[in-house]
């Protein structure tokens, strides 16, 4: 079980709740479980969600494992210049 925090706008489509306890071993499973629970999240995942694990932002490494005691924060995927 990991505790995941969603940024403001995403929490609006996740039942208005920012914090979620989810049983997930990696980013892929986290996204799948979130989408199962809140179908409204799916288009956001398609558009891109970045996952901060202990402050380090992962954008594409869906195989990244989620350590039990890690700080996990979902963020929008951004554009750069």
């Amino acid at each position: 079980m990991v505790e995941v925090t969603l940024w403001g706008s995403l929490s609006a489509v996740a039942g208005g709740k920012a914090r979620h306890d989810i049983e997930a071993k990696d980013i892929r499973e986290l996204f799948r479980k979130l989408a199962e629970q809140y179908p409204g999240i799916e288009p956001w995942i398609d558009r891109g969600i970045a996952v901060a694990i202990d402050g380090t932002i992962y954008r594409d490494t869906w195989s990244k494992e989620l350590p039990k005691d890690a700080e996990i924060f979902l963020l929008p995927r951004l554009a750069g210049g």
Binding site: A12, I57, D60, L75, L78, A79, G80
Partner: protein, 754 residues
């Protein structure tokens, strides 16, 4: 692939040195080939017809006269670029931006295009295309557009991110929110509160090379595209999707690129060139004029930002809040969102809230510009922070040090920071001699901080070792400012050979696996990671070959300083084999030696900078000159320090231009009035002083050498640093960027008149 990206704290032999770049001689002799320097036999000239209206329904386009003109080989409109985006809203916007479908949404929006045997005939043909417009009311100002009575740019847009779906459409496409704690409670604890509104005008990346491409579509459906881009793989995807082609049949070659800064991250005219070539059956060269670059490529957002920050007497910030409105052009974007994330990223805040609003306007589609959205937010926040320090009677640097984020701080955008550089840059500034240098009358000093995320992303690299022991490195991230030198250094470092034996090139889309763009300061971070991985894979093969040559088990062979070394007492008589020795025998030990790497370079390290700036203001004219400038920034690890300095200096210079003179100026008719380098005033050589730099190296734990990105952060602090310097010089707080002479003089006059 078992690549370990963790920082290892090694000693460097090549990394950190400053050799001459591999593409240098071509560039000082005029031989380097940029977008417009390439030609194909039988090529036609493509030209685009653009809307003179800011907002108009396209009722009818008659191309028949143009088609009849001798020498015209193809005329296209939106009909020739049918919608194949299959519900992908972002791609549909790109398509509509390449060629207006129902409405022209800004002055300069493409409505038709021609291909002709020369430029004169193409120009004539454009004049023969008859477009019937129904002109609609327009809006170009971000605040006016956000107003409920503003002309609607897209009546299908209902603001996202609100608790309830709104009943009426609006130009505000999205609301986003970030933060934590309780700002109301925080402000209640504050002894001092600063609250102000700020505006920044729209600026352009101002790359000196206009967009240019040569497109050639063959009758069998295969095609070639030569183009200046920050990401040829992304251009391939976009073009293939928009034209209904298989990606593998479209080979995109990135030319040398004459600057991008975010502006060459998505397609503008390339699908048009391909569609023209497809229709004409001949290659088409399409080069934008400077006027077109300004009117119809992607500048940054204009913004309107409200900031409120409160602090206790002891200098602790108790709460911080910002509302940010960013213009997106006529298509939805996420620009305010990034502003909302970056605004307070430098600080340790218990209570923080930022809200972003994305606003549609009748201006060109906003594109990324170097740390997109961050400079405007930093301008507003760092101006307010300075003012608050002043009210508290605290030194501006000390106040920031007291409130700076550090390892373990929850960032205002959500996660908790690892090791970061904001504190060290502030300490370096505090002790920098620049801070103690004397100032004269009408001179003032300002400082400000800046933050940028930095990105990684999909990356693919090939490293081939020739029989003579020299190394060809093929990367897929476009080199926008010397990365081939940095990546050659990294290959040399990892292999343990001299830099002079490595030659890096940027491979085309048919020669290498997919690579994300060179954006988000990712070029050196990502491709160096992939290069290290490729080199390690090559070393594995080199060890195997040495083992063969020695006829010993590969487990007994290690790689040290460019040599295979047989480990153990029993091999005492075996001299190490150099990479060159092994390469020379490769033909009989198993053939070519190469290392490949495909990876997602994730874990880019966030980056912070603090800038110091001295200005002199002429109180009678409002003219401002930057007389001294210092950049302090964390690079993680500077692979080629000279080019890192170059990034710091270039970002500062762009920021200085933005702060003082650069802006898009629209007339009441919604037309851009300054679409050229004469009146869109980027800094010239005599406008600037030398720009001093100090590179800090706080290793990124997620890169073998500790590399963070360096390209973007340097444009974040200048707007505020200069505004703070002007305030300290002449006592007026400038809240509108650019601080052009008329704005400063008006502010001074208002101050003098009380």
């Amino acid at each position: 692939m078992n690549f370990d990206p963790r920082f290892s704290g090694r000693q460097f032999a090549s990394v950190g040195t400053r050799p001459i770049r591999p593409d240098g001689v071509d560039k000082v002799t005029g031989r380097a080939r940029y977008g417009a320097d390439f030609n194909m036999a039988g090529q036609l000239v493509g030209r685009v017809l653009r809307s003179p209206h800011a907002h108009a329904v396209i009722k009818k386009i008659d191309t028949s006269k143009a088609e009849k003109l001798a020498g015209v080989k193809a005329v296209i409109t939106a009909k020739d670029l049918p919608d194949l985006t299959d519900g992908d809203a972002a791609m549909y916007d790109i398509l509509d931006n390449c060629m207006a479908r129902k409405k022209a949404l800004y002055d300069g929006h493409a409505v038709a295009a021609v291909a002709a045997i020369d430029a004169r005939i193409a120009r004539q043909a454009l004049k023969l295309i008859e477009v019937e417009y129904e002109v609609l009311p327009h809006v170009t100002d971000v605040d006016e557009a956000a107003h409920h009575h503003a002309p609607l740019i897209n009546d299908q847009v209902f603001t996202e991110g609100l608790e309830e779906k709104p009943a009426k459409p609006s130009n505000v496409t999205k609301r986003t929110q970030f933060g934590h704690g309780d700002v109301h409670a925080g402000f209640a604890k504050a002894d001092f509160i600063v609250e102000r509104s700020y505006k920044t005008e729209q600026t352009h990346q101002g790359y000196i090379e206009p967009h240019a491409c040569v497109a050639s579509v063959n009758p069998d459906g295969t095609a070639d595209l030569w183009v200046c881009t920050q990401g040829h793989f992304v251009y391939r995807q976009h073009c293939a999707q928009l034209l209904g082609m298989e990606a593998s049949k479209l080979r995109v070659t990135s030319s040398e690129i004459g600057g991008g800064f975010g502006g060459k991250t998505h397609v503008w005219a390339e699908p048009v060139a391909l569609a023209l070539s497809r229709k004409a059956g001949r290659p088409v060269k399409l080069v934008m004029t400077r006027d077109e670059v300004f009117r119809a490529s992607g500048p940054t957002s204009a913004t309107s930002i409200d900031v409120k920050i409160g602090a206790r007497k002891d200098g602790t910030i108790t709460a911080a809040e910002a509302t940010l409105r960013y213009s997106c052009g006529p298509y939805a974007g996420s620009w305010a969102e990034i502003g909302a994330m970056t605004a307070f990223a430098c600080y340790k805040l218990e209570n923080v809230k930022t809200v972003g609003y994305e606003v549609l306007v009748n201006r060109p589609k906003t594109a990324a510009y170097r740390a997109p959205s961050a400079p405007m937010a930093a301008f507003a926040v760092e101006s307010a922070v300075d003012e608050l320090a002043h009210e508290l009677g605290m030194d501006a640097v000390d106040f920031r040090i007291k409130n700076a984020a550090q390892e373990g701080t929850r960032a205002s955008y959500g996660p908790v920071y690892g090791p970061i550089g904001i504190g060290p840059t502030l300490e370096a500034v505090k002790h920098h001699p620049h801070m103690k240098a004397p100032l004269k009358a009408n001179q003032g000093r300002g400082m400000a901080c800046g933050f940028w995320f930095n990105f990684g992303g999909q990356t693919c690299t090939d490293l081939n070792i020739g029989m003579d022991g020299s190394v060809s490195l093929a990367v897929g991230t476009v080199d926008v400012g010397g990365s081939r030198a940095s990546l050659s250094l990294v290959a040399a470092e990892e292999l343990g050979i001299d830099y002079s034996h490595v030659k890096a090139i940027v491979a085309d889309t048919s020669s290498l696996g997919y690579n994300d763009m060179t954006d988000g300061s990712r070029g050196t971070f990502s491709s160096s990671m992939a290069t290290i991985s490729a080199a390690r894979n090559a070393i594995k093969i080199l060890r195997e070959r040495a083992a063969q040559m020695w006829d010993i088990p590969v487990e007994d062979v290690t790689w040290e300083k460019g040599h295979a070394v047989a480990k153990g007492e029993k091999y005492g008589n075996l001299s190490p084999l150099s990479l060159k020795d092994i390469a020379a025998k490769s033909g009989t030990t198993g053939g070519p030696i190469a290392g490949h790497s495909e990876l997602v370079a994730d874990g880019a390290g966030v980056s912070f900078a603090t800038h110091i700036c001295d200005v002199e203001v002429d109180p009678e004219t409002g003219s401002t000159r930057v007389i001294r400038y210092t950049v302090v920034q964390d690079a993680g690890k500077a692979v080629h320090p000279t080019y890192v300095e170059g990034q710091y200096q270039g970002g500062a210079a762009q920021g200085i231009g933005w702060a003082l003179n650069e802006e898009y100026i629209y007339g009441k008719d919604g037309r851009l009035q300054n679409a050229g380098f004469l009146d869109y005033r980027i800094p010239v050589c005599s406008d600037l002083p030398m720009i001093d730099t100090q590179i800090l190296e706080i290793p990124n734990p997620n890169h073998p050498y500790g590399v963070r990105g360096v390209g973007e952060t340097s444009i974040v602090p200048p707007l505020a640093a200069i505004a703070n310097a002007v305030s300290n010089a002449v006592g007026v707080r400038m809240t509108h960027i650019p601080m052009s002479p008329p704005r400063i003089l008006a502010a001074l006059d208002a101050e003098r008149e009380g």
